[in-house]
């Protein structure tokens, strides 16, 4: 069934988009991530312009993190204080991100920025995750226990001023790195159309030492709010959010996520990390490849307004 997307301005097959939403939802449910880093590239590969893809995916991620956040809230595994501090940085980061997005779009370099950030971020994070997963798997095979967390070790982060007590997470920590992480995730999310969960969760675990009981729930709150904010800003400044596209993605995504979560429980943690690492790495390499080879069409045309 063909449907005309009002903002993307192209006709698409509803079932294709629905299936893409479900597939990404499945993966995101399996790994407990938002899946924006898969959804945005997939949309770009189908022919939707990177700008519209980034803007529309933010509302899709908001929907999937909403259902996630609700279930974590019920289990009381969200740290409200930590979420609020993260959000202070997150909101500023998102605003900066949308501003950068608009500015680069007018220069004609937005697509390049999106592609470059995907290459850099995904190959680095994917490579690290893959390596980490591989090591953990080898260790597990060797019969040694897998250390999940090294409590009590002090890093430079703990020497920073403006300390605050986060009760539910049971940590005592400076707000500076928390705000900085929020800022980074908000910025990347707005520019790249990703929730940033796959960067945020490791950062919170390894850098901030947030316990595993609250880390996912709290990161989902940050994702939810920054993505809602990004949707709003993209709609206000660039008019690029395609609500019809977003709705199809949401429906496919939240359904797929349920099945993905069930599948994820059957796979061992280190295998899961290895797989996710591979997936992230693959998307990054795909973008790198795209940048490096000579495009078949060197020219692009874009309407800059003034339609009479």
């Amino acid at each position: 069934m063909q449907l005309f997307l009002p903002i993307a301005d192209i006709p698409v097959n509803v079932f294709l988009i629905l299936a893409m939403g479900a597939a990404v939802g499945f993966v995101s449910g399996m790994f407990g991530i938002g899946g924006g880093f898969l959804m945005t590239p997939l949309l770009i590969f189908v022919g939707i312009s990177p700008a519209v893809a980034v803007a529309s995916v933010s509302s899709h991620i908001a929907a999937s993190s909403m259902s996630g956040a609700i279930s974590y809230w019920r289990r009381r595994s969200i740290d409200p204080a930590l979420a609020v501090v993260l959000l202070t940085g997150g909101s500023i980061g998102t605003a900066l991100g949308v501003f950068t997005f608009t500015w680069l779009r007018s220069l004609g370099q937005l697509d390049l920025l999106i592609a470059l950030s995907y290459v850099i971020l995904l190959t680095t994070v994917g490579g690290l995750m893959f390596w980490e997963g591989l090591r953990a798997m080898l260790r597990a095979r060797g019969g040694k226990p897998v250390p999940t967390r090294r409590p009590g070790s002090h890093v430079w982060i703990h020497g920073l001023p403006l300390k605050m007590r986060f009760k539910r997470s049971k940590i005592y920590l400076s707000v500076i790195p928390v705000v900085a992480i929020g800022l980074l995730i908000g910025f990347l999310g707005a520019v790249m159309g990703i929730g940033g969960g796959f960067i945020l969760v490791p950062l919170m675990i390894y850098l901030l030492r947030v316990p595993t009981s609250t880390v996912i729930g709290t990161s989902m709150v940050l994702t939810l709010v920054t993505m809602l904010f990004a949707t709003m800003l993209h709609a206000l400044t660039n008019h690029l959010v395609d609500a019809v596209l977003a709705l199809i993605l949401m429906v496919g995504g939240v359904t797929g996520a349920q099945f993905g979560a069930r599948a994820g429980q059957k796979i061992r943690g280190e295998h899961l990390r290895l797989l996710l690492g591979l997936l992230v790495l693959a998307v990054g390499v795909r973008f790198a490849f795209e940048l490096g080879i000579k495009p078949t069409e060197l020219f692009t045309v874009r309407e800059t307004g003034g339609a009479a």
Binding site: A62, A63, G108, H234, A235, L247, K294, T300, R302
Partner: protein, 259 residues
């Protein structure tokens, strides 16, 4: 005020017509539909332009007619960018701005334009893709460039790939020596707005007469409503999208609740 202006122009027009010596030929044209509505499942259609050449007593006998039909879509500013290899990757470097160029352009004739008129007439009458004016901003100047300009050819090529620019020397068919028709294909991504159709009649390489008609493309339905709201009412639109996201997420958490 407007009525008076209209009345005056009608009078002037009538005066011109009567003052002129009786023209040998007159073109009478019409399009099959003056208002095309694009619905969500629109996948392109074809309008038909038909018309006839009316002769009178002054018409030299046995004249062979040629027709050039040019359809201009609504105008807009466009930018064409060129990628170049820098630091091992392909990035946009050079760009050109096209000012108020048609978003849709179709040039149809009954035989190759080179056979219809001399290059001089072609240029003067803007016949064919190579002679249509596509204004570019060149530095501080506004001008069209030579047809072989890489940006101009790339622009036309990309537009043609989307079916928005097209040129055909066989699209106009004479059903009888004076009765003609031509199809105007409108692809799925056709821009909305007013389209003007310029019809020029040639005989022996010279322009005999010309006429103009127009049609309008409007989009209707939910999609257009969404697009309009997004552009004119960004805040409400953003808010609605945000609420939609929250509702979908909330619904999912109810539907799939495990406990």
């Amino acid at each position: 005020m407007r009525m008076r202006a209209l009345a005056i122009s009608a009078m002037v027009l009538a005066a011109t017509i009567t003052a002129l010596p009786a023209r040998a030929e007159r073109l009478i044209v019409s399009v099959s539909n003056h208002r095309v509505t694009v619905t969500p499942n629109y996948s392109g259609e074809e309008l038909v332009l038909f018309g006839s050449v009316e002769k009178d007593a002054n018409t030299p006998p046995n004249r062979n007619y040629d027709l050039v039909v040019t359809v201009f879509g609504p105008r807009a500013d466009m930018v064409t960018r060129r990628k170049e290899r820098k630091f091992g990757i392909w990035i946009n470097t050079d760009s050109r701005q096209f000012l108020q160029v048609p978003t849709y352009l179709a040039i149809f004739s009954n035989r190759p334009i080179d056979a219809i008129a001399s290059p001089e007439v072609q240029r003067r009458q803007q016949l064919g893709m190579n002679n249509v004016v596509l204004t570019q901003r060149v530095g501080t100047d506004y001008a069209d460039v030579v047809p072989t300009d890489p940006f101009r050819t790339a622009f036309i090529r990309l537009k043609s790939q989307h079916g928005l620019y097209r040129e055909s020397s066989s699209a106009v068919t004479f059903l009888t020596p004076t009765l003609f028709r031509s199809g105007i294909p409108l692809p799925a991504e056709v821009p909305i707005g007013t389209y003007t159709v310029d019809i020029k009649l040639f005989a022996d390489g010279q322009l005999i007469t010309r006429t103009e008609t127009a049609f309008e493309i409007v989009k209707v339905g939910f999609e257009q409503f969404v697009a309009n709201t997004a552009r004119q009412n960004g805040f409400v639109y953003g808010l609605a999208t945000v609420v939609m996201a929250l509702m979908t997420g909330w619904m999912a958490s109810i539907v799939f609740r495990k406990d």
